[in-house]
Amino acid sequence: MRVLYPFIAVLALIVVAFLGGKVTGLQYLLGVVLPYLAFGVFIVGFVNRVLYWAKSPVPFRIPTTCGQEKSLPWINYDRLDCPSSKLEVAARMFLEIVLFRSLFRNTRAEIHDGPKLVYGSSKFLWLFALLFHYSFLIIVLRHLRLFTQPIPFFVPLLEFADGMLQIGAPRLYLTDSIFLLAIAFLFARRLALRHIRYISLPADYFPLVLIFAIGATGLLMRYVYRVDIAAVKQITAGLAAFSPTLPAGIHPIFFIHVTLVCALMVYFPFSKLMHMGGVFLSPTRNMSNNNRAVRHINPWNDPAIKPHSYAAYEDEFREFMKDAGIPVEKE
């Protein structure tokens, strides 16, 4: 069920978009109104969510130490895993965001005969996550050719490198194939591994199915049900120039692709996909572990409440304590 519902949801989106893509009036709704709405929801929702997170104070450092903390000068400390300066934190964040270092340390626990518990390294999640995210990034950047005029210099360079195998016409993009392969792996991983399947929810399957459907419709549009790319650019560049036009005779597959992308943009700020912004705000990654060196004061402490030491407490209640037979330090 948890796998089935996301499939039904994406299928419903596809059917709605397919039917809407055939009717001229609804074409305008799907091709012009919906993208503006979805983009607005995406931007406002994203900013809103980050501002909401920023309202939570994180007064204390959360040391997830995988290495020695900085203490005495003659003890070597782990600069990346237990950073003490801003520069070291920046290095840890850079490796986390650009190379997914946390996933690289993913481990797998197995019980062997004995019984013996064995931990082994498991790099596949890291590898396919990396492939998936970078393919997605390149695919998004390549799509700029449809939204920009003049086209920025890096777009043709990306297209050239991406299509350098020169398979077929139009050329097969490497990222397209890697993208679908990687997302299929990430999906299969959730189904195949028992313990991952157990903790997977519809909210985990839905984005995978949706993004796979986006990639698949994109490929279909490029290789099977071709669309006139000049007509498509009239819509997309028109959207970016705030003078939307809608040429007639565009295949419904285009509207399916656009509707799915809009669904992704609307879904984005309210879902786990917000890790795009959230990775920058990971409290265990973006703060230095300097709890020993610096005193961090809780910002929501009431200044009217003064510190109350044990000595003062005993002064206040000494008589009562004596009466109750509780030992006191000062007679």
Partner: protein, 131 residues
Amino acid sequence: MYNKGTIIPGLIIFVGLMLFAIFNNFGEKVEPPKPEKPVGYKECVKPLQYMKESHMELLNVWRDEVIREGKREQVAAGGAMYEKSLQNGCMHCHTSKKKFCDTCHEYASVYPYCWDCHVAPQENMALEEAK
């Protein structure tokens, strides 16, 4: 709100990147391409919509047929026969690479590798010869 100093600039960068296309296009007029139609020819080897969407597929098939299989029979269109050839077939009528091919290709950032091997006819030359 906490950490204003990093969160506000970060959000501004994010929104700026997302709106890149709008800044990039600002003040530019996006005109749809107008490829030059050949003079004196009415009909192509395939219908207009097919050519708009799938001419690259046709060229790819022709290349395989001619170069790899040696099938060089001519193609009929509008009562005339044309060679299965980019330079001698297509560009017999569409004489100018600049005014025909490149208009849409540059508009959509498509850089086909036809011209890695083929030499584009000199502009206006074929037209002069036809006269």
